[in-house]
């Protein structure tokens, strides 16, 4: 067990006691002797902190032996709640009786707290006490008693609460209604449905805050089972927004199929804003929803209702909904069209894919482009139809086809996109093709095979395309990509040298380290520094053991021919301060031009490590560096 704060003497005692809580609890329950010690603390003049923790300890393991002394604390404003932590938990009539007895003398908030604890214990023997407290002049006390009676929830409690529902003063009646609803819930759960319904109905008719009416109405609807439907429909048609909202929520909980019909019937009667919301409730009942009704709503009518229905079809629709969704997807209303396209992309089912693929070759106009987009979004295999679309005079169709190919081609089909990149019909098509090729390449399961295809294409590619292909190879990643880029960076082609060294410098893991070091040593002279900086970037950015980082940093430092790179290495060591990287920095002091920078860096590293509890004084002293 961890102690989380500085402690005073008394708190320390408490802490020690708590330490024993954890350890003893692991082995066995509290011994009688230990309990006596804790009770003695309660009786003593010990600080309140100690008594509080003793209460907590007794809450877990105390027995009825502790009840009397705990009860005495119920009058203490500081310790009452601590005592109740124990008294709520110690089983037996003694604890319950202690709480009841305390209500005879307590007043105000301490009384409220004690009544609350009686409620938590659901003490059926306390109904008389609680009923009496319902009449208390202190509204907080009476309210607490009402809620506690609700938690007890037996027939006697029901009787008391029902009487108070009309008799209680205004400032208590809301709590009485809360108690009634709690009580009704317990009655209903216990099979006393009639009694529960009667109680709910009483609250609905009482002069209580609307939220209480909402709770009672919900209960009254659900407790009635299918017979509660008229009451639900009544709320659905209510002009009161809160009651309408209640109906929307309760409809989702309602059993059976009749409610689906009722919701459907309400659609045609209500205003569009409400109909849109009703459709959402219908769709949240996927097992029994009347799909035809939602489909019809998606096809015609007020815009907000159509959009709601179109969105709902994503959850409940099937292949029978396709034509309606197609029509909506090419509608002139952008919001409706967008909603339909989103649903079409999400709708599940192989039959849907088959229908889209079958329709594509014959499609025309707006539908043509929309279907091509769907092929891409749903990743439907339809390469021949997409290839045909590439010949379209409509640039929107061509673009959609390229995107779709990027989402659907396999390794064999990669060449299609490569050729589109090589021989694009326009600059715009070329850019789209490049993006599509990238999309296709990065999702190929066999990275190396993909890189082989791309590398082969590079041989015939014009200079600008070579750069694109190299960038895509870098995006694909993997061992083959690294090897290809390493070779390319050392080729005789200046364009490839530039592009390859650039993308290697941004590699996203340390696998590129050997390639970059090789280039830094033996690559084209004008890109050696770039390669070295890329290597230093790997040392900076990626997780690795301290020793490995220090070794890589030392390698970079030794290869550096300029102070700028050497200082970058020092910065990396400072960022990843540990005894290993400190060695690199200390060694760097041997370079006269860097001695001051390295010393400053070493001191900063030593301080940073010291703050984390890493002692490098010896290391620094041996190096002759003083840390103030």
């Amino acid at each position: 067990m961890r102690l989380t704060r500085p402690f005073t003497r008394s708190a320390l005692i408490a802490a020690l006691m708590l330490a024993s809580v954890a350890s003893s609890a692991q082995a066995q329950k509290l011994s009688a002797d230990k309990e006596k010690e804790l009770i003695a603390v309660l009786r003593s003049e010990a600080p309140s902190a100690d008594k509080a923790i003793a209460c907590k300890r007794l809450a877990v393991d105390g027995s009825i032996a502790a009840v009397e002394d705990l009860a005495k604390l119920l009058t203490d404003p500081q310790l009452s709640s601590w005592a109740r932590i124990a008294l709520e938990n110690i089983p037996g009539a003694e604890s319950a009786d202690a709480l009841k007895k305390a209500t005879e003398s307590l007043k105000g908030q301490l009384l409220v707290g004690t009544i609350n604890s009686i409620g938590v214990r659901r003490d059926a023997t306390a109904v008389d006490v609680l009923t009496a407290k319902l009449q208390d002049k202190d509204a907080d006390v009476a309210s607490a008693a009402a809620v506690a009676l609700g938690r007890v929830g037996n027939a006697d409690a029901e009787k008391a609460l029902r009487a108070a529902l009309t008799a209680a003063p205004d400032n208590v009646r809301s709590a009485v209604a809360e108690g009634c609803v709690l009580c009704a819930e317990r009655l209903n759960a216990g099979g006393k449905t009639k009694e529960a319904i009667a109680l709910y109905d009483d609250v609905r008719k009482a002069e209580v805050p609307k939220q209480r009416v909402i709770e009672a109405t919900r209960g009254a609807i659900l407790a009635r089972g299918e017979e509660g439907l008229p009451l639900l429909v009544e709320q659905l048609a209510s002009t009161d927004r809160k009651m309408f909202q209640l109906a929307l929520g309760t409809a989702r909980e309602f059993p059976g199929k009749e409610v689906d019909k009722a919701l459907a019937a309400e659609l045609s009667k209500t205003i569009p804003q409400r109909a849109a919301l009703i459709i959402q409730a219908m769709a949240d009942r996927p097992e029994t929803v009347d799909l035809a009704v939602v489909l019809k709503a998606a096809g015609s009518g007020a815009k907000e209702v159509r959009i709601s229905a179109v969105g709902a079809l994503a959850r409940i629709g099937n292949e029978t909904c396709l034509q309606t969704l197609f029509d909506a997807a090419v509608d002139d209303d952008a919001e409706l069209s967008q909603a339909a396209k989103a649903t079409l992309a999400d709708l599940s089912g192989e039959k849907i894919n088959a229908q889209i693929a079958a329709l594509l070759p014959k499609a025309q106009g707006k539908s043509y482009q929309m279907l091509i987009e769907l092929v891409g979004q749903r990743r439907i295999s339809a390469t021949p139809a997409l290839l045909k679309a590439l010949d379209s005079s409509d640039k929107g169709v061509r673009s959609a086809a390229l995107v779709a190919l990027g989402e659907t081609v396999d390794l064999k089909g990669l060449s299609i996109l490569i050729s589109q990149v090589m021989a694009a019909k326009s600059e715009e098509d070329g850019a789209t093709a490049q993006q599509a090729l990238k999309s296709a390449s990065v999702r190929m399961p066999d990275q190396d095979a993909c890189v082989t295809e791309l590398a082969a294409a590079m041989e015939k590619a014009p200079a600008a395309t070579k750069v694109t292909l190299l960038e895509i190879i870098a995006d694909v990643g993997g061992a083959k990509a690294l090897k290809t880029l390493g070779s390319s960076a050392k080729s005789n082609d200046p364009v490839q040298q530039d592009a390859s060294s650039r993308v290697l410098g941004k590699w996203n893991n340390v696998d590129a380290a050997p390639v970059l070091i090789d280039l830094a040593k033996t690559g084209p002279a004008q890109y050696r520094v770039r390669s070295l900086r890329g290597y230093i970037g790997l040392v900076r950015k990626f997780a690795m053991p301290d020793k490995q980082r220090a070794e890589m940093a030392q390698t970079a430092f030794d290869l550096s021919t300029q102070a700028a790179e050497q200082k970058l290495v020092l910065d990396v060591c400072k960022l990843h301060a540990n005894p290993e990287t400190l060695k690199v920095v200390i060694k760097a002091r041997q370079v006269p031009e860097l001695k001051d920078d390295a010393t400053t860096t070493a001191v900063a590293m030593a301080k940073a490590m010291s703050a984390k509890g890493v002692d490098v004084k010896d290391q620094m002293t041996k190096a002759g560096i003083e840390v103030k």
Binding site: L3, A11, K29, A52, K56, N116, G119, Q273, Q338
Partner: protein, 428 residues
């Protein structure tokens, strides 16, 4: 899993952070924006009027997520600290170009306002459940930061209260509305990984703690810091300014949850989603070698694990089935046992666990009355799993939990850790 396998899998997913995909996730087509009040066609009276309670560091972030929604009108702030009241009012008034944001010291006054539809609760965890239930009883919908509850009993009553009061409740478990976590959970939930065998959560510090009081200092002026209201339902203790840190305050009293609750309310929550939000595990073992193993009724294990994670950022989860696995973390990235699990889908990579989508989900549900992703029942189950694990941790032994009775089985000690009395006058 080999590193290569991980890298291959990772690459397959992590090239996907298209803004279009992110946007699609952010704004699902549920009902028209006009009906939701997302454009200017709906009058201000149709907007969701929100009040904020306890808006500190985390709350200020949440507040920003609310304020960026066009259909939100932030109308009031309540805080026991004067400085925070003033700061939040300035933020809201600046946003709206007026001085209308009301300030309160007592949240009950804010809840009394009939024009406020929903509240953002971002106090310290001590207050979360009690305040949320007060808000529900006042007819407010609730977005409540996590951890939502302090013990098992609170978790049960929370779910029950939200159901009974017909309120929309969203726990601040925003990872449920991030695409990569959602996808990972979907894989597990829909059987794509085969029969689920193990779900892993990262508790980041498995300790069940108790501590005593800090030294008493003179009570501050209530107008500046209302200590009595700050304490709220927590058992009494003297004022000490060091306790004015909502989370650490939790450590000043009874059994508190450490990393199991602080992080578990996120990562165990995701595990719960992966197991289709079924009831929490029925068996919890004492931790061993950095792992606390719990077991669901169907035999699937929930494992609180400190080490062994693929470096995918904080709050990682891992789901293992008979035929595949997935691991995801706060970087927005995930790793799959096989790229075929992607089934051609593109999953947006959104790192940094933003809450914007979660807030949007909440607001949509306030209007449609549907259940948000982090609804009270889901939060209840996840929190019970965390609390029960903490009980096993605290007792240092196995405990068994019955999801019918919501009690530990034949275990008086454990059952006495199910709940804790609230300080007067507060009740659930």
């Amino acid at each position: 899993m080999s590193n290569q396998e991980a890298q291959v899998s990772r690459r397959r997913f992590l090239k996907t952070a298209s803004s279009a995909a992110a946007a699609a996730f952010a704004a699902p087509t549920i009902i028209p924006s006009s009906a939701l009040g997302l454009d200017d066609s709906v009058p201000p009276s149709e907007r969701v009027v929100v009040g904020g309670i306890g808006i500190g560091n985390r709350g200020a972030y949440d507040l920003g997520c609310f304020l960026e929604q066009k259909d939100v009108q932030f109308a009031a702030v309540c805080d026991v600290k004067e400085a925070r009241r003033t700061t939040v009012k300035r933020i809201a008034d600046t946003k709206y170009g007026n001085v209308a944001c009301a300030t309160y010291r007592d949240f009950r006054e804010l809840l009394d306002r009939q024009d406020i539809d929903a509240v953002l609760i971002a106090t310290g965890p001590n207050w979360h459940a009690t305040m949320a239930m007060n808000a529900a009883k006042a007819g407010k919908d609730i977005y409540c930061e996590k951890p939502v509850t302090k013990n098992i009993e609170q978790s049960l009553i929370l779910a029950d209260t939200m159901r009974r009061t017909a309120r929309v409740f969203q726990a601040g478990t925003q990872r449920r509305n991030l695409p990569h976590f959602a996808f990972a959970c979907e894989l597990a939930r829909t059987g794509k990984l085969g029969k689920l065998k193990k779900v892993y959560a990262h508790p980041a510090g498995m300790q069940a703690m108790m501590s005593g009081w800090l030294p008493a200092q003179p009570d501050p002026d209530p107008a500046v810091v209302d200590w009595n209201m700050y304490l709220g339902p927590a058992a009494w203790r003297p004022f000490n300014p060091k306790l004015l840190d909502g989370f650490n305050f939790e450590k000043g009293g009874g059994l508190v949850g450490g990393g199991v609750l602080e992080w578990g309310s996120h990562c165990v929550d995701l595990c719960q989603w992966a197991v289709n939000d079924c009831p929490p595990p029925v068996e919890y073992n004492a931790p061993k070698d950095g792992e606390l193993v719990a077991r669901y009724e169907n035999g699937c294990e929930l494992i609180f694990r400190e080490k062994g994670w693929i470096p995918l950022g904080s709050c990682p989860v891992r789901f293992e089935g008979e035929t595949g696995w997935v691991e995801a973390g706060d970087s927005g990235k995930m790793v799959l046992s096989s790229p075929t699990l992607l089934a051609g889908r593109t999953v947006a990579e959104i790192g940094g666990y933003p809450a914007t989508f979660h807030v949007r989900d909440f607001l949509d549900c306030v209007k449609t009355r549907s259940q948000p992703k982090g609804n009270a029942q889901a939060a209840c189950n996840a929190h019970i799993a965390c609390h029960a694990a903490n009980v096993a941790l605290f007792l240092g032994r196995q405990v068994k939990f019955d999801n019918q009775t919501h009690m530990f089985v034949d275990d008086d000690q454990a059952n006495r850790l199910r709940s804790e009395a609230l300080r007067e006058p507060w009740r659930l």
